[in-house]
Protein backbone atom coordinates (compact mmCIF):
# COMPACT_ATOMS: atom_id res chain seq x y z
CA UNK A 1 0.00 0.00 0.00
CA UNK A 2 1.56 3.28 -0.96
CA UNK A 3 1.94 6.25 1.37
CA UNK A 4 -0.98 8.28 -0.02
CA UNK A 5 -3.41 5.40 0.53
CA UNK A 6 -2.12 4.90 4.08
CA UNK A 7 -2.62 8.60 4.86
CA UNK A 8 -6.14 8.46 3.38
CA UNK A 9 -7.08 5.51 5.56
CA UNK A 10 -5.53 7.20 8.60
CA UNK A 11 -7.65 10.32 8.06
CA UNK A 12 -10.84 8.32 7.49
CA UNK A 13 -9.97 6.19 10.52
CA UNK A 14 -9.46 9.32 12.61
CA UNK A 15 -12.84 10.72 11.60
CA UNK A 16 -14.52 7.40 12.37
CA UNK A 17 -12.74 7.24 15.72
CA UNK A 18 -13.97 10.68 16.69
CA UNK A 19 -17.53 10.53 15.50
CA UNK A 20 -18.18 6.83 15.05
CA UNK A 21 -17.85 6.01 18.71
CA UNK A 22 -20.17 8.75 19.92
CA UNK A 23 -22.70 7.95 17.20
CA UNK A 24 -22.53 4.19 17.78
CA UNK A 25 -22.95 4.55 21.52
CA UNK A 26 -25.96 6.80 21.20
CA UNK A 27 -27.69 4.91 18.42
CA UNK A 28 -27.00 1.38 19.62
CA UNK A 29 -27.51 2.06 23.30
CA UNK A 30 -25.24 -0.87 24.19
CA UNK A 31 -22.78 -0.77 27.03
CA UNK A 32 -19.64 1.04 26.06
CA UNK A 33 -16.58 -0.45 27.65
CA UNK A 34 -13.93 2.03 26.57
CA UNK A 35 -12.29 3.37 29.73
CA UNK A 36 -12.95 7.05 29.24
CA UNK A 37 -16.68 6.34 28.80
CA UNK A 38 -17.04 3.64 31.42
CA UNK A 39 -16.21 6.03 34.22
CA UNK A 40 -17.98 8.99 32.78
CA UNK A 41 -21.39 8.71 34.28
CA UNK A 42 -20.87 7.26 37.69
CA UNK A 43 -17.40 8.21 38.76
CA UNK A 44 -17.29 11.93 38.28
CA UNK A 45 -16.49 12.77 41.88
CA UNK A 46 -17.17 9.77 44.06
CA UNK A 47 -13.62 9.79 45.28
CA UNK A 48 -13.40 6.02 45.83
CA UNK A 49 -11.32 4.19 43.31
CA UNK A 50 -9.29 1.59 45.15
CA UNK A 51 -11.65 -1.23 44.26
CA UNK A 52 -10.81 -0.72 40.59
CA UNK A 53 -7.07 -0.66 41.05
CA UNK A 54 -4.37 -3.28 41.12
CA UNK A 55 -0.99 -2.83 42.64
CA UNK A 56 1.98 -3.86 40.53
CA UNK A 57 3.03 -7.34 41.57
CA UNK A 58 6.08 -7.72 43.73
CA UNK A 59 6.52 -4.06 44.45
CA UNK A 60 6.15 -2.19 47.66
CA UNK A 61 4.40 1.13 47.60
CA UNK A 62 6.42 3.67 45.70
CA UNK A 63 9.59 1.61 45.52
CA UNK A 64 11.41 1.70 42.20
CA UNK A 65 12.15 -2.00 41.91
CA UNK A 66 12.35 -1.90 38.17
CA UNK A 67 10.46 -3.68 35.46
CA UNK A 68 11.29 -6.95 33.78
CA UNK A 69 13.62 -5.25 31.37
CA UNK A 70 15.63 -3.81 34.20
CA UNK A 71 14.39 -0.29 33.49
CA UNK A 72 11.92 1.74 35.40
CA UNK A 73 9.78 4.65 34.43
CA UNK A 74 9.78 7.74 36.58
CA UNK A 75 6.12 8.17 35.61
CA UNK A 76 5.39 5.21 37.90
CA UNK A 77 7.16 6.48 41.01
CA UNK A 78 5.58 7.94 44.12
CA UNK A 79 8.25 10.63 43.91
CA UNK A 80 8.96 11.15 40.25
CA UNK A 81 12.04 13.25 40.99
CA UNK A 82 13.56 10.87 43.47
CA UNK A 83 17.34 10.89 43.44
CA UNK A 84 17.77 13.83 41.08
CA UNK A 85 20.76 15.91 42.15
CA UNK A 86 20.15 19.49 43.21
CA UNK A 87 16.45 18.98 42.59
CA UNK A 88 15.40 21.44 45.31
CA UNK A 89 17.07 24.38 43.59
CA UNK A 90 15.67 23.77 40.10
CA UNK A 91 12.62 25.09 38.35
CA UNK A 92 10.28 22.72 36.50
CA UNK A 93 10.87 24.31 33.09
CA UNK A 94 14.63 23.81 33.40
CA UNK A 95 14.09 20.09 32.72
CA UNK A 96 10.62 20.22 31.08
CA UNK A 97 10.92 23.23 28.72
CA UNK A 98 8.29 21.99 26.26
CA UNK A 99 5.72 21.43 28.99
CA UNK A 100 6.04 24.99 30.28
CA UNK A 101 4.34 26.30 27.12
CA UNK A 102 1.02 24.54 27.70
CA UNK A 103 -2.24 26.46 27.33
CA UNK A 104 -2.75 26.24 31.09
CA UNK A 105 0.51 28.05 31.65
CA UNK A 106 0.22 30.58 28.84
CA UNK A 107 -3.49 31.38 28.93
CA UNK A 108 -4.67 30.26 32.35
CA UNK A 109 -1.59 31.55 34.17
CA UNK A 110 -1.43 28.28 36.15
CA UNK A 111 1.75 26.98 37.71
CA UNK A 112 2.88 23.37 37.31
CA UNK A 113 2.14 22.58 40.95
CA UNK A 114 -1.48 23.62 40.71
CA UNK A 115 -2.12 20.45 38.73
CA UNK A 116 0.85 18.21 39.57
CA UNK A 117 0.65 18.82 43.32
CA UNK A 118 3.26 19.60 45.93
CA UNK A 119 6.35 17.60 46.87
CA UNK A 120 6.81 14.75 46.48
CA UNK A 121 5.30 14.97 43.01
CA UNK A 122 4.04 11.54 42.08
CA UNK A 123 4.58 10.24 38.55
CA UNK A 124 1.43 10.53 36.45
CA UNK A 125 1.12 6.74 36.20
CA UNK A 126 1.75 6.03 39.87
CA UNK A 127 -1.25 4.17 41.16
CA UNK A 128 -2.08 6.66 43.93
CA UNK A 129 -1.21 9.77 41.95
CA UNK A 130 -4.01 12.31 41.46
CA UNK A 131 -2.73 12.50 37.87
CA UNK A 132 -3.32 8.80 37.24
CA UNK A 133 -5.77 8.69 34.32
CA UNK A 134 -8.15 6.65 36.43
CA UNK A 135 -8.90 9.62 38.69
CA UNK A 136 -7.32 12.60 36.96
CA UNK A 137 -10.65 14.03 35.87
CA UNK A 138 -12.00 14.12 39.41
CA UNK A 139 -8.84 14.99 41.36
CA UNK A 140 -7.28 17.47 38.95
CA UNK A 141 -9.46 18.60 36.01
CA UNK A 142 -12.74 19.00 37.89
CA UNK A 143 -11.18 21.42 40.35
CA UNK A 144 -11.55 24.10 37.67
CA UNK A 145 -13.59 22.41 34.93
CA UNK A 146 -16.73 21.59 36.83
CA UNK A 147 -18.29 18.35 35.70
CA UNK A 148 -15.18 17.06 33.93
CA UNK A 149 -15.38 13.34 33.17
CA UNK A 150 -12.73 10.76 32.31
CA UNK A 151 -13.22 11.55 28.63
CA UNK A 152 -12.37 15.20 29.29
CA UNK A 153 -9.16 14.13 31.03
CA UNK A 154 -7.89 12.52 27.85
CA UNK A 155 -7.31 16.04 26.48
CA UNK A 156 -3.55 16.47 26.07
CA UNK A 157 -2.72 19.74 27.78
CA UNK A 158 0.98 19.14 27.03
CA UNK A 159 0.23 18.70 23.35
CA UNK A 160 3.15 17.60 21.18
CA UNK A 161 4.05 19.88 18.28
CA UNK A 162 1.55 18.57 15.68
CA UNK A 163 4.05 18.36 12.85
CA UNK A 164 6.72 16.57 14.90
CA UNK A 165 7.76 12.93 14.80
CA UNK A 166 6.84 12.76 18.47
CA UNK A 167 3.25 13.61 17.54
CA UNK A 168 3.33 11.02 14.78
CA UNK A 169 4.26 8.37 17.37
CA UNK A 170 2.14 9.47 20.31
CA UNK A 171 -0.79 11.33 18.74
CA UNK A 172 -1.12 10.21 15.10
CA UNK A 173 -4.59 11.67 14.55
CA UNK A 174 -3.28 15.12 15.49
CA UNK A 175 -0.25 14.64 13.27
CA UNK A 176 -2.26 13.63 10.20
CA UNK A 177 -4.83 16.38 10.78
CA UNK A 178 -1.91 18.79 10.80
CA UNK A 179 -0.60 17.33 7.56
CA UNK A 180 -4.00 17.65 5.93
CA UNK A 181 -4.48 21.26 7.04
CA UNK A 182 -0.93 22.17 6.04
CA UNK A 183 -1.53 20.65 2.61
CA UNK A 184 -4.81 22.54 2.27
CA UNK A 185 -3.18 25.80 3.36
CA UNK A 186 -0.20 25.44 1.04
CA UNK A 187 -2.39 24.32 -1.85
CA UNK A 188 -4.94 27.13 -1.57
CA UNK A 189 -2.45 29.87 -0.81
CA UNK A 190 0.09 28.61 -3.35
CA UNK A 191 -2.42 28.42 -6.20
CA UNK A 192 -4.26 31.67 -5.52
CA UNK A 193 -1.28 33.81 -4.54
CA UNK A 194 0.47 32.79 -7.75
CA UNK A 195 -2.72 33.54 -9.67
CA UNK A 196 -3.08 36.95 -7.95
CA UNK A 197 0.56 37.82 -8.56
CA UNK A 198 0.42 36.92 -12.26
CA UNK A 199 -2.88 38.72 -12.77
CA UNK A 200 -1.55 41.80 -10.96
CA UNK A 201 1.62 41.86 -13.05
CA UNK A 202 -0.30 41.32 -16.28
CA UNK A 203 -2.65 44.18 -15.45
CA UNK A 204 0.24 46.39 -14.43
CA UNK A 205 1.92 45.93 -17.81
CA UNK A 206 -1.26 46.29 -19.83
CA UNK A 207 -3.64 48.63 -18.03
CA UNK A 208 -6.82 48.13 -19.98
CA UNK A 209 -8.59 51.22 -18.76
CA UNK A 210 -7.82 54.47 -16.94
CA UNK A 211 -8.15 54.57 -13.17
CA UNK A 212 -11.66 55.43 -12.00
Amino acid sequence: MNRGVRVFFAVIGGVLLIFGEALGARVGGEEVVEASRRYRYYELSRGFYESHEMRPMGQGEGQPKGMKTGMYHRSRLADAHQGILFYAGRRCEACHPDNAASKHGVRGNLTCRQCHGSEPIAGIAHYYSPMNPIRRHAYVCARCHEGAGASFATYRIHEPIPGSMEAKQSFPSLHYTHRFMLGLLLGVLGLFSLHALMLGLRELFSIRRPHP
Partner: protein, 271 residues
Protein backbone atom coordinates in the same frame (compact mmCIF):
# COMPACT_ATOMS: atom_id res chain seq x y z
CA UNK B 1 -21.29 60.46 -13.05
CA UNK B 2 -20.92 57.48 -15.34
CA UNK B 3 -23.85 55.14 -15.84
CA UNK B 4 -23.78 52.15 -13.56
CA UNK B 5 -25.02 48.60 -13.49
CA UNK B 6 -26.65 47.10 -10.42
CA UNK B 7 -24.45 44.24 -9.19
CA UNK B 8 -25.21 43.53 -5.53
CA UNK B 9 -28.60 43.58 -3.82
CA UNK B 10 -29.01 45.45 -0.51
CA UNK B 11 -29.01 42.12 1.36
CA UNK B 12 -25.74 41.07 -0.37
CA UNK B 13 -24.16 44.33 0.78
CA UNK B 14 -25.50 43.95 4.31
CA UNK B 15 -24.26 40.34 4.60
CA UNK B 16 -20.83 41.40 3.34
CA UNK B 17 -20.69 44.28 5.81
CA UNK B 18 -21.73 41.96 8.65
CA UNK B 19 -19.16 39.37 7.64
CA UNK B 20 -16.48 42.04 7.28
CA UNK B 21 -17.07 43.42 10.79
CA UNK B 22 -17.38 40.03 12.50
CA UNK B 23 -14.41 38.54 10.62
CA UNK B 24 -12.13 41.46 11.51
CA UNK B 25 -13.21 41.24 15.16
CA UNK B 26 -12.59 37.50 15.23
CA UNK B 27 -9.23 37.98 13.51
CA UNK B 28 -8.04 40.58 16.04
CA UNK B 29 -9.29 38.71 19.11
CA UNK B 30 -8.13 35.32 17.80
CA UNK B 31 -4.68 36.51 16.81
CA UNK B 32 -4.30 38.18 20.20
CA UNK B 33 -4.93 34.81 21.84
CA UNK B 34 -2.48 33.04 19.55
CA UNK B 35 0.29 35.58 20.02
CA UNK B 36 -0.23 36.49 23.67
CA UNK B 37 3.23 35.21 24.59
CA UNK B 38 4.84 37.79 22.31
CA UNK B 39 5.22 41.49 23.23
CA UNK B 40 2.90 42.49 20.36
CA UNK B 41 0.23 39.98 21.33
CA UNK B 42 0.33 40.80 25.03
CA UNK B 43 0.08 44.53 24.30
CA UNK B 44 -2.87 43.91 21.98
CA UNK B 45 -4.52 41.74 24.60
CA UNK B 46 -3.96 44.40 27.28
CA UNK B 47 -5.38 47.15 25.05
CA UNK B 48 -8.54 45.11 24.46
CA UNK B 49 -9.14 44.60 28.17
CA UNK B 50 -7.32 41.36 28.98
CA UNK B 51 -7.63 37.67 28.22
CA UNK B 52 -11.05 37.03 29.77
CA UNK B 53 -12.65 39.93 27.93
CA UNK B 54 -11.03 39.00 24.61
CA UNK B 55 -12.24 35.41 24.91
CA UNK B 56 -15.79 36.64 25.67
CA UNK B 57 -15.76 38.98 22.66
CA UNK B 58 -14.43 36.16 20.45
CA UNK B 59 -17.20 33.86 21.66
CA UNK B 60 -20.09 36.34 21.33
CA UNK B 61 -18.99 37.63 17.92
CA UNK B 62 -18.44 34.03 16.82
CA UNK B 63 -22.05 33.20 17.68
CA UNK B 64 -23.21 36.29 15.77
CA UNK B 65 -21.09 35.26 12.80
CA UNK B 66 -22.62 31.77 12.88
CA UNK B 67 -26.14 33.15 12.91
CA UNK B 68 -25.28 35.53 10.07
CA UNK B 69 -24.02 32.54 8.11
CA UNK B 70 -27.18 30.52 8.77
CA UNK B 71 -29.43 33.45 7.82
CA UNK B 72 -27.40 33.97 4.66
CA UNK B 73 -27.66 30.25 3.84
CA UNK B 74 -31.44 30.35 4.24
CA UNK B 75 -31.73 33.57 2.28
CA UNK B 76 -29.59 32.18 -0.56
CA UNK B 77 -31.59 28.96 -0.72
CA UNK B 78 -34.82 30.95 -1.03
CA UNK B 79 -33.34 33.17 -3.72
CA UNK B 80 -31.86 30.26 -5.63
CA UNK B 81 -35.20 28.48 -5.39
CA UNK B 82 -36.82 31.46 -7.09
CA UNK B 83 -34.18 32.31 -9.68
CA UNK B 84 -32.89 28.81 -10.43
CA UNK B 85 -29.76 26.96 -9.36
CA UNK B 86 -27.79 27.05 -12.55
CA UNK B 87 -27.27 29.52 -15.34
CA UNK B 88 -24.88 32.36 -15.98
CA UNK B 89 -26.01 34.32 -12.89
CA UNK B 90 -25.48 31.39 -10.54
CA UNK B 91 -22.68 31.31 -7.98
CA UNK B 92 -22.32 27.55 -8.41
CA UNK B 93 -19.13 26.37 -10.06
CA UNK B 94 -19.33 25.09 -13.60
CA UNK B 95 -16.90 23.79 -16.21
CA UNK B 96 -16.94 27.28 -17.72
CA UNK B 97 -15.07 28.54 -14.64
CA UNK B 98 -12.29 26.04 -15.23
CA UNK B 99 -12.11 27.10 -18.88
CA UNK B 100 -12.01 30.77 -17.83
CA UNK B 101 -9.14 30.04 -15.47
CA UNK B 102 -7.21 28.24 -18.20
CA UNK B 103 -7.83 31.09 -20.64
CA UNK B 104 -6.75 33.67 -18.08
CA UNK B 105 -3.56 31.78 -17.26
CA UNK B 106 -2.72 31.75 -20.99
CA UNK B 107 -3.47 35.50 -21.08
CA UNK B 108 -1.19 36.12 -18.09
CA UNK B 109 1.73 34.55 -19.90
CA UNK B 110 0.94 36.43 -23.10
CA UNK B 111 -0.69 33.62 -25.06
CA UNK B 112 -4.06 35.02 -26.03
CA UNK B 113 -6.87 37.29 -24.92
CA UNK B 114 -8.29 37.36 -21.36
CA UNK B 115 -11.32 35.25 -20.47
CA UNK B 116 -14.72 36.79 -21.11
CA UNK B 117 -15.96 36.66 -17.54
CA UNK B 118 -19.60 36.57 -16.50
CA UNK B 119 -21.25 38.13 -13.47
CA UNK B 120 -19.14 36.10 -11.03
CA UNK B 121 -15.53 35.37 -11.91
CA UNK B 122 -14.05 32.02 -10.87
CA UNK B 123 -11.98 33.62 -8.09
CA UNK B 124 -15.03 35.48 -6.75
CA UNK B 125 -16.90 32.17 -6.64
CA UNK B 126 -14.00 30.58 -4.77
CA UNK B 127 -13.96 33.49 -2.28
CA UNK B 128 -17.67 32.96 -1.74
CA UNK B 129 -17.60 29.18 -1.34
CA UNK B 130 -14.49 29.18 0.84
CA UNK B 131 -16.67 30.70 3.55
CA UNK B 132 -18.95 27.68 3.33
CA UNK B 133 -16.21 25.24 4.32
CA UNK B 134 -14.43 27.62 6.71
CA UNK B 135 -17.45 28.68 8.70
CA UNK B 136 -18.72 25.20 9.69
CA UNK B 137 -15.20 24.07 10.67
CA UNK B 138 -14.64 27.21 12.76
CA UNK B 139 -18.12 27.17 14.28
CA UNK B 140 -18.13 23.48 15.27
CA UNK B 141 -14.59 23.44 16.63
CA UNK B 142 -15.11 26.83 18.30
CA UNK B 143 -18.20 25.59 20.12
CA UNK B 144 -16.36 22.40 21.12
CA UNK B 145 -13.52 24.41 22.59
CA UNK B 146 -15.76 26.94 24.32
CA UNK B 147 -17.86 24.18 25.88
CA UNK B 148 -15.10 21.63 26.31
CA UNK B 149 -16.56 19.76 29.29
CA UNK B 150 -19.92 19.29 27.56
CA UNK B 151 -18.24 18.39 24.26
CA UNK B 152 -16.15 15.71 25.98
CA UNK B 153 -19.38 13.86 26.87
CA UNK B 154 -20.06 13.26 23.17
CA UNK B 155 -16.55 12.97 21.73
CA UNK B 156 -13.31 11.81 23.38
CA UNK B 157 -11.42 14.55 25.21
CA UNK B 158 -8.38 14.18 22.96
CA UNK B 159 -10.48 15.24 19.98
CA UNK B 160 -10.45 18.72 21.58
CA UNK B 161 -6.74 18.83 20.71
CA UNK B 162 -7.71 18.14 17.10
CA UNK B 163 -10.53 20.69 17.30
CA UNK B 164 -8.00 23.27 18.54
CA UNK B 165 -5.65 22.51 15.67
CA UNK B 166 -8.46 22.66 13.09
CA UNK B 167 -9.78 25.95 14.50
CA UNK B 168 -6.33 27.52 14.50
CA UNK B 169 -5.26 26.23 11.09
CA UNK B 170 -8.53 27.15 9.38
CA UNK B 171 -8.49 30.61 10.97
CA UNK B 172 -4.90 31.21 9.87
CA UNK B 173 -5.74 30.04 6.36
CA UNK B 174 -8.79 32.33 6.28
CA UNK B 175 -6.84 35.34 7.55
CA UNK B 176 -3.97 34.94 5.10
CA UNK B 177 -6.42 34.31 2.25
CA UNK B 178 -8.74 37.23 3.01
CA UNK B 179 -6.10 39.79 3.98
CA UNK B 180 -3.68 38.73 1.30
CA UNK B 181 -5.51 37.39 -1.72
CA UNK B 182 -9.11 38.62 -1.38
CA UNK B 183 -8.01 42.18 -0.56
CA UNK B 184 -5.50 42.14 -3.41
CA UNK B 185 -8.00 40.89 -5.98
CA UNK B 186 -10.75 43.19 -4.72
CA UNK B 187 -8.91 46.41 -4.05
CA UNK B 188 -5.16 46.32 -4.60
CA UNK B 189 -4.63 45.05 -8.13
CA UNK B 190 -3.92 47.74 -10.70
CA UNK B 191 -7.41 47.87 -12.23
CA UNK B 192 -9.14 48.10 -8.83
CA UNK B 193 -6.70 50.21 -6.83
CA UNK B 194 -7.22 51.99 -4.43
CA UNK B 195 -10.68 50.61 -3.77
CA UNK B 196 -13.51 48.91 -5.57
CA UNK B 197 -16.66 50.33 -3.94
CA UNK B 198 -19.15 47.99 -5.70
CA UNK B 199 -19.76 45.91 -2.58
CA UNK B 200 -20.72 49.05 -0.64
CA UNK B 201 -22.72 50.88 -3.32
CA UNK B 202 -24.09 47.80 -5.07
CA UNK B 203 -23.35 49.49 -8.41
CA UNK B 204 -20.63 48.90 -10.97
CA UNK B 205 -19.63 51.57 -13.54
CA UNK B 206 -20.56 50.47 -17.07
CA UNK B 207 -17.03 51.14 -18.31
CA UNK B 208 -15.69 48.66 -15.72
CA UNK B 209 -18.44 46.21 -16.58
CA UNK B 210 -17.49 46.07 -20.27
CA UNK B 211 -13.81 45.57 -19.43
CA UNK B 212 -14.06 43.14 -16.55
CA UNK B 213 -17.24 41.21 -17.20
CA UNK B 214 -17.85 41.35 -20.96
CA UNK B 215 -19.94 38.17 -21.04
CA UNK B 216 -22.29 39.55 -18.41
CA UNK B 217 -22.50 42.92 -20.19
CA UNK B 218 -23.44 41.15 -23.43
CA UNK B 219 -26.03 39.02 -21.69
CA UNK B 220 -27.59 42.07 -20.00
CA UNK B 221 -27.64 43.89 -23.31
CA UNK B 222 -29.44 40.98 -24.98
CA UNK B 223 -31.98 40.94 -22.17
CA UNK B 224 -32.39 44.71 -22.30
CA UNK B 225 -31.34 45.02 -18.65
CA UNK B 226 -28.10 46.90 -19.11
CA UNK B 227 -27.74 50.10 -17.10
CA UNK B 228 -30.53 49.20 -14.71
CA UNK B 229 -28.62 50.90 -11.90
CA UNK B 230 -29.46 54.33 -13.29
CA UNK B 231 -27.17 57.33 -13.13
CA UNK B 232 -27.72 58.31 -9.52
CA UNK B 233 -24.54 59.37 -7.85
CA UNK B 234 -23.80 58.33 -4.25
CA UNK B 235 -24.04 61.21 -1.79
CA UNK B 236 -20.72 62.70 -0.62
CA UNK B 237 -21.46 61.56 2.95
CA UNK B 238 -22.06 57.95 1.83
CA UNK B 239 -18.92 58.06 -0.31
CA UNK B 240 -16.88 59.29 2.65
CA UNK B 241 -18.32 56.64 4.96
CA UNK B 242 -17.76 53.69 2.64
CA UNK B 243 -14.32 54.87 1.59
CA UNK B 244 -13.23 55.24 5.21
CA UNK B 245 -14.77 51.88 6.11
CA UNK B 246 -13.15 50.08 3.19
CA UNK B 247 -9.73 51.65 3.57
CA UNK B 248 -9.75 51.05 7.35
CA UNK B 249 -10.71 47.40 6.86
CA UNK B 250 -7.95 46.90 4.28
CA UNK B 251 -5.41 48.67 6.51
CA UNK B 252 -6.34 46.59 9.57
CA UNK B 253 -6.26 43.46 7.43
CA UNK B 254 -2.79 44.17 6.04
CA UNK B 255 -1.51 44.97 9.53
CA UNK B 256 -2.92 41.70 10.86
CA UNK B 257 -1.56 39.84 7.82
CA UNK B 258 1.98 40.91 8.71
CA UNK B 259 1.58 39.59 12.25
CA UNK B 260 -0.15 36.42 11.05
CA UNK B 261 2.75 35.68 8.72
CA UNK B 262 5.27 36.42 11.49
CA UNK B 263 3.36 34.08 13.82
CA UNK B 264 3.20 31.32 11.21
CA UNK B 265 6.88 31.77 10.45
CA UNK B 266 7.67 31.12 14.13
CA UNK B 267 5.04 28.58 15.08
CA UNK B 268 3.62 27.09 11.88
CA UNK B 269 0.17 25.80 12.72
CA UNK B 270 1.04 25.11 16.37
CA UNK B 271 -0.64 27.20 19.04
Amino acid sequence: MNATQKRFTPSDRLFHLGLMITFLTQAVTGLAQLTMRTPWGSTLMYRMGGYEKVVSIHYIVGIMMGFLFLIHGGNSLLRMGRSGWFGSDSLLFSWRDLRHMGTNIKWMVGMGPPARLGRWSYWEKFDYWAVFWGMPILAITGLMLAHSVEASRYVPGWSLNIAGLLHRAEALLAMVYIFGIHFFMGHMRPSAFPMNPSIFTGEMPLSDLHHEKPAWAEELKNQGLLKNGGERSASPLFKTVYTLTGVTAVAIGLYLLIHTVIFMGRMGLSG
